[in-house]
């Protein structure tokens, strides 16, 4: 649910990074945070456990600039990836405008990817959203690992509707901004339709 503030001439959109545990959602946000001009970003908030696993969410507000006289703000959130945090995960999807699914390319995580994607679809439905129509981008992360499955295979198993798909290596930043740009573009295009 986009928040258009005519009084302050601002538009606020919410993007959620989804995916299985340890797939690199937080690392995506961390990279975006590190590489963004200080004037364009707020604080990166991480509600994490002592071992740095996301407990509730990470949050990063980004000002992307002005479009047609409106300040464009994106609020980036991650969800906790671990299976047993489903109740928290569901809460974060409330009012989402666009979703990035971060898949872990390692062979051993294929089942976890598929399970998380199904979980995303189910949780979106509970909020009245449809994965088939919501702005959505797939990121194939951890491409640098030797155990990474071939891109074709990942694409076949995880690409849901021909959504834009990016290969990434989040700690080095490969594919991170391409992913963000693709989802932001879809969200803004969606506004044009309304």
């Amino acid at each position: 649910m986009t928040f258009i503030n005519y009084a302050a001439r601002e538009i606020n959109c919410k993007i959620v990074f989804y995916g299985p545990g340890l797939c690199g959602k937080t690392t995506n946000l961390q990279y975006i945070y590190d590489r963004t001009n200080p004037s364009a970003k707020g604080k990166l908030i991480s509600l994490a456990t002592e071992t740095d696993r996301t407990l509730f969410f990470d949050f990063l507000p980004l000002d992307l600039g002005t479009v047609r006289g409106f300040k464009t703000r994106f609020h980036l959130y991650t969800v906790p990836g671990q299976v047993f945090y489903d109740a928290s995960r569901k809460l974060i999807l409330k009012g989402v405008d666009g979703v990035v699914f971060v898949a872990d390319s390692q062979e051993a995580r294929m089942d976890a990817n598929v399970e998380s994607l199904r979980n995303l679809e189910k949780n979106l439905k509970e909020h009245g959203f449809d994965l088939a129509t919501i702005p959505y981008v797939l990121q194939l992360n951890k491409r640098d690992l030797p155990t990474a499955v071939a891109v074709d295979e990942l694409f076949r198993q995880l690409n849901f509707k021909g959504e834009p798909t990016f290969e990434a290596c989040a700690p080095q930043g490969t594919g991170v901004f391409d992913t963000l740009k693709a989802v932001a573009k879809q969200v803004l295009m969606e506004l044009r339709k309304k």
Binding site: I4, Y6, I11, G42, P61, V67, R68, G95
Partner: protein, 162 residues
């Protein structure tokens, strides 16, 4: 799900209500957040506060508490109160849609804040009802130009240039 639109007129009405509440409750800061974590308006000493983070964490807090409420068979917990050494935070849900947050210290008291919030909540509910109605009628109005109706690929690319 329809978007949330905030127009000048209601924005000023909201500002008036929270400004009055800040004075009446002798609070330091009063702000309003939507349930998705986006700040709608703020009044008071907000220069030293990261209001964007506050808004997001408040919404997360309310969402988690809502989840808790449902687990034990409650509809919601309409009021949350956090007591600190110096500052306290009083959170009230307005019309199940938005969240009113009052930060206060020893210059005020929980009783006073609770009393004043009750009155302000009623005023705010009316304003948000009006906004809701407006959003519903404006939706069909072709003359309300969405700022994004004519957005181009070029506009979007320009956002990512640096």
């Amino acid at each position: 799900m329809s978007d949330f639109l905030l127009f000048d007129e209601e924005f000023h009405l909201i500002k008036d209500v929270i400004s009055r509440l800040k004075t009446d409750a002798q609070a330091k800061v009063v702000f309003i957040v939507d349930k998705n974590g986006q700040q709608i308006a703020a009044q008071g000493d907000i220069e030293s506060l990261d209001t964007t983070s506050l808004a997001s964490l408040t919404a997360g807090n309310v969402a988690a508490t809502d989840g808790l409420a449902k687990l034990i068979g409650e509809k919601e917990f309409p009021v949350l109160f956090h007591e600190g050494e110096r500052d306290n935070v009083y959170i009230a849900i307005v019309g199940q849609r938005v969240i009113l947050v009052v930060i206060f210290d020893e210059h005020s008291s929980l009783g006073l804040v609770r009393l004043r919030v009750r009155k302000a909540t009623q005023d705010l509910e009316k304003i948000f009802d009006t906004i809701q109605k407006k959003v519903e009628t404006e939706k069909d109005r072709k003359d309300l130009d969405s700022p994004f109706a004519e957005i181009t690929d070029e506009d979007i690319d320009s956002l990512f240039r640096d």
